[in-house]
Structures are given as C-alpha cells and as structure tokens.
C-alpha cells in the first residue's frame, strides 16, 4: 500500500511539474503539440469522412426501399435452392432450367395479402446528352404517386409523369442534356429499332443516385431489356421477417427486408460473405508504424531539450533522495500532459474539420453521403495514438535524464557523455536483419512487397540507433570546416539527445523517398523495356466496331480528310464477330489446341492471305518475320493451308481448322465447320504478338464456308496526334449508338504521366518532412545555444553570425540525415524491384506448369531525385532557415 502511495505521489508530482513545465516553455510545448496534433487531426478527419461516406446497410435501406415499403422482392425464372443473407446479393442458388418466375399471387400467398407495387430500380440504359451518348442512366420505372414509392424520388420541379411518353430526370441529367420541357432520347438496344423519346415533365432527385444520370417513368415507358426476365415489387404492410424471406427464397424470390436489415438475425448474418484483404491490413499497419516513428523522431528533440532544461531540477531532486524512476516520471509527466492535450485537440479538431469538409466531399462524391458518422472507437484510438507517440518520444530523454551525473549538473557542466556501445550494436543487428530480410524477400513468389516493407522498417530502426554514433563521428571530423559549420557540427555532436532524433527523422523520410523512387523508376523501366509494339512505329490501325459491321468507305473518307498523306491497307480475315454472329476459330494439331494465348487486336481470329503472300502485319513485324520461314509459308498457303502461330512446338505438318458460328439472329443457332489443311507452325513467345491465330489461305476460308471480311484498316505514312484526335471523333460519329470504329497509332512506349507526378510528390513530401525535422532541431539548438551565442556576441561576432550558425545547424542535420537515409533506402528500394518487376510465364498442361520464360527484375536508380533530395534539399532547407532566422545575437545578460 505504501509503495502504491509513493508511486501515485510520484506521478502526481510528475504531472504537476509536467503541467508547469509545459506552460513555462510555451514555444517548445507548442512545437510538440503541433507535431502530434496534426497527424491526429488528419487521421481523425479521414476516419470520420470515410465513415460518413460509407453507407452501411441500415443507413442505405431507405435509399432502396423508400420510406414506406417493408421490403423489395425480386422474382427470377430458372433458379432454385436460393439462399440469401441480409443482402439479397449474398448467398447462392442453383440453376433450374425450366422453372418459371414466381408470380405476384404466389408471393402474396407466401407472405400475406399485402399491398405491392411493381417497380424496376436497377436497369441502366444509354441516353443522348448534349455531349453525345452517355451510358449508365438509371432508368427507373414505377408509379411515383403510389404510397409505397414514397422516399425513392423527391420532386423538385414540374410534375410526375402521367403517361408513358413522359419522364422526370434528376438535376445531374438535366444539366448534361434534356431539361424541363425537352425530349429525352433513349437509343434502342435493338439494331435498326427507333430510339424512344420521352418528354421531360419534372426534375426529381433520386435517393440512390446523385452525380449520375437518373430518370423515372411509368412502367413500360423505357425500351425493354430483352434478356431481363425478372420482376421486382415493393411490398407494404407490416415487417417482412426472416422467416418470410426464407419462404420467399424457396419460391426463387430474393428479398431486401427493412426489418432484417435493421435487426439482422444470426442466420442471416451467417450467409453474408466476407473477404479479408490481409495485404491491405498489413500495409495499413506498416504505414501506421512508419507514421508513429516519424512523429516520435520529430517530437523527440523537444523532449530532449526539455529534459536537459529540467536537469538541475532533477539533480536537486536526486540530492533530496529521488530515485531514477521518479526522475524519469518527471520527464514522462510532461509527455503525458502534452500528449493528452494533443490527443484531445486532435480529436475535437478532426471531427470539426470533417464536419466542415463534409459539404465539399458531398459535392465531389457521386453518391449521397450517409449521415455524419463519427467512428468513436477508431477516433479515440487515434487520439490515444497522440498520447502514445508523446510518451515514446519522451522515453529516451527520460531514460538519459534519469542517469545524469548529479555532481556534474550541479556544478554547471553542459554536454553529454560519450555514446554507449549498446545502442549502436543493437542498431547494427537490426540493420543486418533488415538487409537479410530484404534479400530473402526478393525470392518470395507472393507478398514479397509486404515482407520487404517490414524489412525496411527494421533497416530504419537500425539506422535510428546508429545515428548518435554517426553524429559523434561527424563532430570529430569538423576541425577544418569554417567557423559556423565547425561550431554547429560539434555542438550537434555534443548534444546528441537533441540532434539524433531530428537527424533520424530526416533519414527515415529520405529512406522512404529513395525506396519508393527506385521502385517507381524501376517499374517504369520494366514497362519501357517490355513494351511490345503492336504495330511498326508510326503505323496506325482502324478497327471495326464490335459487331463487325463497318462502313469502310466512310472510314477511308475520314482518313483521307484528316490524314491525307496516309495510305490505307485493308486487313481481310475471319472476323470474331459479325452482324450478331460470333465466330470462334480454333486450330488443333497433335491432338492439342495450338491457338496462342493472345493475339491480334485486328478483330480477326485468322487473317486471310492474298494468294501465297504473307500479309504486311507479319512481314512488317521484324520479330515475327524472323520467326517465319517465308518460303515454307508461301508453299503452305499456295497449297490451300495455313500458317499457324502457337506458343507450343508441334511436330505435325497439318492442322485442323475448326470454326464455330453462333448466331442469335432469328433464334439461337450454331454452325460448325472443320477442315484439315497443310500447316506451317510458327513458335511465338510472350515477347512477340501474333496478329491472329493463323494466316489462312483463301481456299481454306472458302472450305470453312466463311466470307472473309475487312476487319481493320492499316494506316501508313505517319498520323500526327492532332490528326489522330480528329479521326477519333469522326469515327465516333460513324458508329451506331452502341459502339464505333476506333483508331490506334503506334507511337512506341508512352511513359505513364503519373510516373513523373509520383517523383515530384515524393520530392515534395521529402522536402516538407525534411524542413519540419530540420527546423525543429535548429530552433531547439539555437535556443539551447543561447549562452554560446551571447559569448560570440561579446567577442564581436556580427549580427548575421546567428543566421549563419542557424543555416549551419540546418545543413548538418539535413545533410547527415539525407546521406544516411539515402544509403539505407537503397536496400528496400533495390529489393522491391524483384517482386515488382520480375514476371514469369508458365506453360501448363496436364502434368503441371513449367516456367517458360522470365523477364526482369529491372532496376533503375532515379539519380536526379536522389541528388535533389540528398544535396539540393538540405541546401534549400538551410536557405529557408537562414532566411527566416532572426539575425540579432543575444547580448550577455546582466551579470550581477
């Protein structure tokens, strides 16, 4: 009991001293508060906004059912053994081929005689807008005046539709096209059928959809979607229970029940699937750990200086009988006070900021946000992070303060003793483990990046423990430097407890920037070197629209208009799709399907040759041309055969061409044809893309009973970017409402525009954190060095000397940190290129898979970024510090 009393008294004293010290050293306290509060505010704001944006089932039920309906039931034909959870989309069912759809009467019989309203709330159709064609308009059909429909749409202007040629639209659609009083045009989904025109008689907002087009009309107003045979009703009356839902499931009817959503039974929840994305959780944890390390390192120097300012107090306490533990509590007491204030301010500030940002988030969010929602467990946890980070930042200074030489302090000696060996040894061990871990992680087939990130944290922690030794070493080497640098370097080395955390913060930041920079640059290198040109450089290609029916005369006219110097060459082949029919060509030999895994982009499964001449798509592709024996190919084509592109190595000299044509026109039908032809097999690996599965002779195509068609148009002679854009728009206008011909011009590898943006963002992030860490250390060092600066003034230093010394402090912290960080960052940076840029291709058969080829890893060091961060940024930071530092030196205080 006595021990508890002593312990509590010790903490009470520590908290009292901490409170007074925090108030006395307002500047330093403010610095710590900023370091800790800002991340707490940022995370709390993000968590609150994310929770608000996320509409859970209970929050979203009104958006799907309105405010009055008890349930939304959907009947579909052809299903049985339906099992669902709270969400009708969860669970599963089996196919029952001829089972008809449940009727309204059957549903009423199952759940009682309730009011029901037929609705369609999940059909999306294309619609004409001022810009052209927009797909994805919610085409809702229901009677909006029925009480059961209340809350699904809210009328803002005009009136509800009274007839089937009337419609109301939401403000988003009205802003992009048909407004009040104008005509809404919905293209038909059937070729040749006229579009549906509806008059817009009102503006109404959908509860479900905000920044997407939505329209509401009476049932039967919109064009029917042919293969949709489901029927949906809103159901009124009392609650639809879980037993009712199960009974409906037996009919093949899914149900979204308000009662089940708001109070889900265990059986319903058991059906809800869940997928855990371990990778996301691990990455999130790693990011949180790194953020914690950064905050601790940035706030550490402030606690170190505070501890030293309190050293006389602690020495006097020791002279009065305090223990080292009680001395530590005095320093930690300040951390508890500041951390608690930071956590509370961050919590309140984060919630307030989220509230202020909510309207902006709503403006840019495509859907309606949920109710303002504070995830209290997460928010309080983040606030606790503030307290934890302050405590962690103060742990080392508290430990050092508790072990100070009392006599030395009372006799006024400043500075710290020699660095101990334990920490650097621990640092070497951690760094070694991190390096070994990174090397081993490069061999992992999966999740290598995650393990490398973990190794990176070990490397950074090891580096943190080595920083004091490095700083002390740099201090010893400062003898020949100019005065301000010599002073700053040695002073920084003498006060390692203040300097080392700031250097470590800068180093950790630079390590991250360098590692990410190498990963990004290497990724770009991989893309650049593995890029496979689809066409010879500068050549263009116009491909047919999806259904294969294209007015090639009009296409040629558009090309002649916008790219008059270009010559066009038609690609004639067996189309993959034409006029509603799907043509599937396969090539077999040696009892196996020889079709390559991927090919083309020319809309043809096989190119039909003109006589015995290989098409320019083959001869113009240098890699492909090398693989083809031109004489043998000519001989095979002359004999009515085929040149087959395959990733295998068959030994046969004949192939079986199989063609299956599925047509939906006038009812489903399938026609098959099979011919055996002489064949030349050409091996293609992943680096070469074949234009089609095969080049077949006209004879072979005729024997298959298929008419070769133009599937694409080659453009030679150079198409400028401007001409390509004009051609693209012109081709769009040629298309049907659903698709149009498209143009592609081979311009070689085009760097990802995001790559440069990432490098710039990394550089800026490094600059901000480096500036933060350096300013912290410099501000504290100048404050700490006040007596020395007064001495300099007394011996005649000019006023600008203070500025020079401040800049020198900044250079020391930033440069040492940057160099260390760059060296450590190389480890995870190089390691991560392995999982990121190494790809292996396998050939699989009944016996298993064998790696057929491997590319990578690719390594590119972004030297410009590294030089900028290691040399440029420290100089820039020093310049900022020099420019913002007061130049007046303190004068010697009154001495009597």
């Amino acid at each position: 009991m006595r021990r508890l009393r002593i312990s509590w008294a010790g903490w009470r004293l520590a908290l009292r001293l901490g409170r007074r010290e925090a108030w006395r050293a307002k500047g330093r306290s403010a610095l710590v508060l900023v370091m800790i509060t800002l991340p707490v505010i940022a995370v709390v704001t993000t968590a609150v906004l994310a929770s608000t944006i996320n509409v859970n089932a209970a929050e979203g039920v009104d958006r799907q059912l309105g405010t009055k309906a008890a349930a939304l039931v959907t009947a579909q034909p052809g299903i049985k053994d339906l099992v669902q959870g709270v969400d009708p989309g969860s669970g599963g069912w089996s196919a029952a081929k001829n089972r008809p759809r449940a009727t309204q009467a059957q549903i009423r019989k199952t759940i009682g005689d309730r009011p029901m309203l037929r609705v369609d709330l999940d059909t999306y159709l294309p619609v004409r807008t001022e810009a052209g064609l927009s797909d994805g308009m919610l085409a809702a059909e229901l009677d909006p005046t029925d009480p059961l429909a209340a809350g699904l749409f809210s009328l803002e202007d005009g009136h509800w539709p009274h007839a089937k040629n009337e419609v109301v639209v939401n403000s988003h659609l009205a802003g992009r096209g048909p407004g009040l009083g104008e005509m809404l045009t919905v293209p038909s989904l059937k070729d040749g059928a006229p579009a549906t025109q509806l008059r817009v008689v009102g503006i109404a907002e959908s509860a479900a959809v905000k920044n997407k087009p939505a329209a509401l009309a009476l049932p039967g107003s919109f064009p029917a979607v042919e293969d949709d045979q489901s029927a949906t009703w809103l159901v009124g009356g009392g609650p639809v229970t879980w037993d009712d839902v199960r009974a409906l499931n037996k009919l093949g009817v899914t149900a979204l029940s308000r009662a089940v959503v708001l109070d889900p039974p265990a059986a319903a929840l058991a059906q809800e699937g869940g997928s855990s994305d371990n990778t996301a959780a691990v990455v999130g944890a790693l990011v949180a750990v790194m953020a914690l390390i950064e905050v601790v390192l940035l706030a550490g120097p402030a606690f170190a200086v505070g501890a030293r300012r309190q050293s006389r107090t602690l020495a006097l306490m020791a002279a009065s009988g305090s223990t080292p533990r009680q001395a530590r509590r005095v320093v930690l007491g300040l951390a508890v006070v500041l951390g608690t204030v930071a956590g509370l301010v961050g919590l309140v500030g984060g919630i307030g900021l989220a509230r202020a940002i909510e309207p902006i988030a709503q403006h840019y969010n495509g859907d309606w946000l949920g109710p303002f929602d504070v995830p209290w467990p997460a928010a309080v946890g983040v606030a606790a992070f503030g307290v934890v980070s302050a405590l962690l930042a103060a742990v080392v200074p508290a430990w050092i303060a508790s072990r100070q030489d009392v006599v030395a302090v009372l006799s006024g000696r400043r500075g710290e003793g020699k660095p101990s060996l334990r920490s650097p040894l621990l640092g070497l061990v951690l760094l070694g483990l991190g390096i070994v871990g990174a090397v081993l992680s490069t061999r992992r087939a999966t999740n290598g990046e995650v393990f490398i990130a973990g190794s990176a944290i070990l490397c950074v922690l090891g580096m943190v423990f080595l920083v004091p030794v490095v700083v002390a070493l740099v201090g010893r080497l400062a003898g020949r430097l100019p005065l301000p640098l010599r002073f700053a370097t040695r002073d920084a080395a003498r006060h390692r407890s203040r300097t080392a955390p700031a250097v470590a913060a800068v180093a950790a930041t630079v390590a991250g920037v360098v590692a990410l920079g190498i990963g990004n640059a290497s990724d770009q290198k991989e893309n650049r070197e593995t890029y496979t040109a689809t066409l010879p450089m500068g050549q263009g290609l116009v491909t047919a629209q999806v259904d294969g029916v294209t007015d090639w005369t009009a296409v040629r006219g558009a090309v002649a208009k916008y790219a008059p110097k270009v010559t066009t060459t038609p690609i004639v082949g067996i189309p993959e799709q034409y006029d509603g029919a799907y043509l599937d060509l396969s090539v077999r030999a040696d009892g196996e399907d020889q079709s390559p895994e991927s090919y083309g982009g020319y809309g043809a499964s096989a190119i039909v040759s003109a006589g015995a001449v290989l098409p320019s798509l083959v001869t113009g592709n240098s890699e492909l041309a090398k693989a083809v024996d031109a004489d043998k190919a000519a001989a095979v084509l002359r004999d009515g055969g085929a040149v087959v592109f395959t990733s295998r190595r068959p030994v046969a000299d004949r192939a079986t061409l199989r063609l299956e044509i599925e047509s939906d026109t006038g009812g489903a039908s399938t026609r098959r044809a099979k011919v055996s032809v002489p064949a030349l097999f050409v091996h293609v690996d992943g680096r070469v893309t074949a234009p089609a599965a095969a080049v077949v002779s006209a004879t072979a195509a005729h024997r298959l009973g298929v008419t070769p068609r133009t599937t694409a148009l080659l453009l030679d002679g150079g198409v400028s970017k401007a001409a390509e854009e004009n051609l693209h728009e012109a081709l769009l206008a040629l298309g049907t409402d659903v698709d149009a011909p498209s143009v592609y011009v081979e311009r070689g590898y085009q760097p990802d525009s995001y790559a440069w943006l990432i490098q710039i963002v990394l550089g800026c992030l490094g600059a901000v954190l480096m500036l933060g860490g350096t300013l912290t250390a410099t501000f504290l060092a100048l404050s700490d060095a006040r007596p020395d600066l007064a001495t300099l003034s007394a011996v005649g230093a000019a006023a600008r000397t203070r500025r020079g010394i401040a800049a020198a402090y900044a250079v020391v912290v930033a440069l040492v940190g940057a160099v260390l960080g760059a060296l450590v960052g190389l480890v995870p940076g190089i390691a991560v290129t392995y999982p990121l840029t190494r790809t292996a291709e396998s050939i699989c058969d009944d016996r298993g898979c064998v790696t057929s080829s491997q590319t990578g890893p690719f390594l590119e060091i972004p030297w410009l970024l590294i030089v900028a961060v290691v040399i440029g940024l420290p100089l820039l930071v020093a310049g900022v510090v020099a420019a913002t530092t007061r130049s007046r030196l303190p004068l010697v205080a009154r001495l009597d």
Binding site: G412, R413, R414, G415, L483, R486, F487, R490, D491, R494, P787, D788, A790, T791, L792, S793, A794, V795, G796, A797, A798, A799, T801, R888, L891, V892, R894, L895, D896
Partner: protein, 241 residues
C-alpha cells in the same frame, strides 16, 4: 594630451519603468587610460557589471555618452560596436564563457576569425596568445578538458589576442583558487603595463590592490575614488595645466 581609451560621460542606465524601475547607474563619469588598470568595487547591485556592459557596447546607456578610443559607441550601430569588440575590446567573464564546441586555440582565435582573418593566421596569433598565458601545450583541448584556472587563462588569451587596447574583466577570479587568481591578475597587470587599459570589476580589496586606481560604486553612483590618477586624467579635469 592623450585621450582616455574608455570614457563614460554622465552615463545613466535605467531598467524597466514605473514601479519596477531600477536605476543601475546614475550620471556616472568614468575614464580609463592606456597603461592603467582601474578597479571598480562596490556591493552587489551597485552597478559594476552594468558599467562593464556599457563599456563593452553590449548595452546602451539611457543617457550620457560612452566612448572607446574616441568613438561614441551610440553613433557606431550594432555592427560597429561588434567590430570594436573584435578588434579593440577584450572581455573576461567570471564564468569564463568559453565555447564548449571549440578547442582552446579556436576559442582564442575566435575574434580574429570573426573579423575575417584567414584561419591559419588566426590560429598562429592564438597560439602566440596561449603561449603568453603558458597554455600552448593545451591548445587542442576542449574547455571541459581544462581546469577552471586553465579555462580562465584561455579566456584572458582570447581577450588580449591581437592588438586589443581595452580589457574589461568582470570578477575574473571569482571561480578560481587564490593562487590561480593571483596568476590571472598578474597577466592582466602585465597587459596594462604593455599599454592596454584595463577595467577590473571586483569586490575583493586584495584584487583591487593590483590596480592603479579604485572607483567605488554604490547604488549606481561613484561615491569615492582612490589611487593616483594618471597625468592625463588630471589634465583632463583641469587639475594641472
């Protein structure tokens, strides 16, 4: 007739205002000539250290003028006063006030380096100054590797390096034992005999005995003066013609 190296004419210094006003010096007239060591004595709070800080240009008087080598410090500005401290005025503090991050020779060379002297020349001059005080063998040591007496001798070397002509010493023996204190005063005396002017703030009569004159301060006023003023001082006052 030679001018005093240091002259305070009707100098007053007031700190604070209203109820917290403190008059550290009240119309004090004081002079120190080349070749003489003047001791300033008085109880705590009498204004001794204020007089020294005004003399060194580290503070400005509320009224009156302070001149060093004939130059009115008020007209020089901060940079001008700093230059004077680098080239003409040497300070010796009770607490030594050496820069812990610089070695002994670097501390002594500090004013020269600040004045733009090349590092090599500054170091040579500093080494010579350290030799004068008998510490050339400890030139490479840091202050916390030196004893109190050694640190004070380094501080004196810093105060006299170059061609400084005015040395201001504020209780330079306060933190030293008797023998070391005597050594320090001997060095100061020697410097004054070589032509510098020295002002020594002390409250020890036996230390004041090293001086040519002793000025007594109480409550910011010169209440007494003993010792023989130099001829120049007498000429100045019109005592002799």
């Amino acid at each position: 007739m030679s001018e005093p190296l240091l002259k305070l004419a009707e100098v007053s210094r007031v700190h604070g205002s209203g109820a917290t006003e403190v008059r550290a010096l009240k119309s004090v007239t004081f002079a120190a000539y080349a070749g003489e060591l003047v001791a300033v004595m008085g109880p705590s709070g009498s204004g001794k250290s204020t007089l020294l800080t005004l003399a060194g240009g580290l503070d400005s008087p509320s009224s009156g003028t302070v001149s060093v080598e004939g130059a009115d410090l008020a007209s020089l500005g901060n940079n001008g006063r700093a230059r004077l401290r680098r080239t003409s005025i040497g300070y010796v503090f009770q607490d030594f006030n050496l820069i812990p991050a610089l070695t002994a020779v670097e501390n002594v060379a500090l004013p020269l380096e600040l004045d733009g002297e090349p590092a090599g020349r500054a170091r040579r001059a500093a080494t010579a100054a350290l030799a004068e005080v008998g510490l050339v063998d400890l030139a490479g040591r840091f202050p916390d590797e030196l004893s109190g007496g050694q640190q004070q001798r380094v501080a004196i070397a810093r105060a006299v390096v170059g061609q400084r002509r005015l040395i201001l010493a504020d209780e330079p023996t306060g933190a030293l034992d008797t023998e070391t204190g005597e050594d320090v005063l001997r060095m100061l005396r020697g410097r004054c005999d070589a032509g510098a002017a020295g002002v020594l703030v002390t409250h020890e009569p036996r230390h004041a005995a090293w001086a040519d004159r002793v000025v007594f301060l109480r409550d910011g006023i010169v209440v007494d003066e003993s010792g023989t003023p130099p001829v120049e001082a007498l000429l100045d006052r019109g005592v002799v013609s």
